[in-house]
Symmetry: C2
Subunit: 323 residues, 2 copies
């Protein structure tokens, strides 16, 4: 479902509504880009006219009473699943998102945790605390294989950085596609194909960078984990894509060597959440792909430029597909 | 002091002596390359004839009694300072060394510890142990500056990998040199020049990859550390190049943010060594640049090929300079 790009007349008349939690300096920047003053995106939107909103969430009352006037919503986050899960997206409203340097940030998160494992960073920190000088096995990541689920901007950035460290990168997409693999990938295979299982068996790293959509819920389940032979699993996508019971089973039987989970289906995890007791796992706090104010402004400006020229922004979300 | 490359007649007659600690499979490989059987490199070398030795150390008695017959020594390590420190190197004897994938390994060690710090890996591991879900500040390494001391094979490999992660890399050599900087570096400055102090002040990372020679002892001392403004210091070269008291002072006054030391002047560090109590420091066990048997064989083969053709091997050590 491709949303309609608002035409020049609508864009000119649209009121700019910004979420109250945005920093004042960012709001000033958005006002400068849109060439109009901002009003708060609150539960009540008095008055009429077309609406251009910037924020993380669309207030339920706006959705209920002013949905037909929403022409464009720019999300300050990359993941728009909370926006889309709240109900049908207002018909015809353009939804764009902030990716910013997120690909770069997530790539550094992944490579940081990958190389930290290769260099036994946590173990050396532990030895240091015990004043213990002992050589630990380390690994050269160059020549190893990483499977990266998601071949879009984020998966591509992750693969690109892994590849620059000498890793062979295999993307997993909805289909293998034709023609040469996208930048950053040595190969792309389709999810569910035999080639995926073969590559899973040979991989040292399995990186999940999938959005949360109906189609990806529990995507990493028992069948997929059963094909893994000693890879470390890193999730920088969405928690809902992983069946945690299946992951636990694979960690216990050794198919999955370690896990690094930046995302969980329910965040934050409470201290008594059993997820903390998964073996050989580290949970981080959804910190891989933070967006900075600068990212929001830069991406909004790019979308603005496209819309003004009547083009569909590259950061537009296909609200049917969910990303 | 450039050693003489043994001529074809000497090479043909040379006996192959290999250190007893080498693995049998490596010895077989060395025999295959040299086209002759190996004898043990022991304290006593009965019989005469020119000697080609492979090992980590030259036994004192061989040095005392058969130095004039030594035509070539191939070191299984990259650092040949223990060999050269044991006394004057036998005149005319070629010394070659194993670098192997050491540049690549050391580069991954450096980038692994750099990104682990950016991603707060030790802190997240600690939080995980306490079942604590809390966002910690992380850093994007792209755009930061790293000073790399040593612009040879190893420094170049370190700089190259940092650069592929988006880091601006400044090499520090004996002189700035002329012409474009070597591969991996955005810029090269000379040690002691004003430009070095300027770059130290702006650097986020200071990586020491210097060999141990008379000229580099205590190279990282109070004056140099005083120019550092918040960089993390990583030593993958030699422990003797660092004045530990000066480093401790810089860590205490905050000029140096953290330290990662893979090498110490005295290894292994005993449990009561005060080095374990340096603030914000992690010591690893000289593990960054291990050489594998495969590396020794590949590098010996390359040297053999050069010597056979009458060329000076690229891995020959200038025994006067010390590397």
């Amino acid at each position: 479902m491709i949303a309609v790009v608002p035409g020049p007349e609508l864009l000119a008349r649209a009121r700019l509504l910004v979420a109250p939690e945005l920093n004042a300096s960012l709001v000033r920047e958005l006002e400068r880009i849109a060439g109009r003053g901002a009003e708060p995106l609150a539960d009540e939107v008095p008055g009429g006219g077309p609406l251009l909103c910037v924020g993380a969430a669309l207030p339920g009352s706006v959705r209920a009473t002013a949905a037909d006037r929403l022409v464009w919503f720019h999300s300050v986050n990359a993941g728009t699943d909370p926006l889309l899960a709240a109900g049908p997206w207002p018909a015809g409203a353009l939804l764009t998102r902030t990716v910013g340097r997120m690909g770069e940030r997530i790539a550094q998160y992944v490579v940081g945790w990958v190389l930290a494992e290769c260099q036994a960073v946590p173990e050396y920190v532990g030895q240091h605390a015990r004043a213990e000088w002992r050589r630990l096995p380390t690994e050269l990541v160059a020549g190893q294989t990483a499977l990266v689920y998601g071949t879009g901007r984020i998966g591509g950035a992750v693969a690109g950085l892994l590849r620059r460290c000498g890793v062979r990168t295999v993307g997993v997409g909805r289909t293998a596609g034709s023609g040469p693999p996208p930048v950053g990938f040595d190969r792309v295979v389709g999810a569910g194909e035999d080639a995926e299982a073969d590559e899973l068996a040979g991989a040292r790293w399995v990186v999940a960078a999938l959005p949360s959509t109906g189609a990806t819920e529990g995507f990493f389940g028992a069948r997929r984990f059963a094909a893994v032979r000693g890879a470390t699993f890193v999730n920088v996508g969405r928690g809902a894509t992983v069946d945690l019971a299946a992951l636990e089973g694979a960690l216990r039987d050794g198919g999955v060597r370690r896990a690094v989970l930046d995302v969980l289906a329910e965040e934050p995890a409470a201290p008594d959440d059993p997820v903390w007791r998964l073996p050989r796992t580290v949970i981080t706090s959804h910190s891989a792909g933070i967006t900075a104010d600068e990212d929001v402004a830069v991406d909004f400006a790019a979308c603005w430029e496209a819309v003004r020229e009547g083009r569909r922004p590259g950061l537009a979300v296909d609200v049917g597909r969910g990303y």
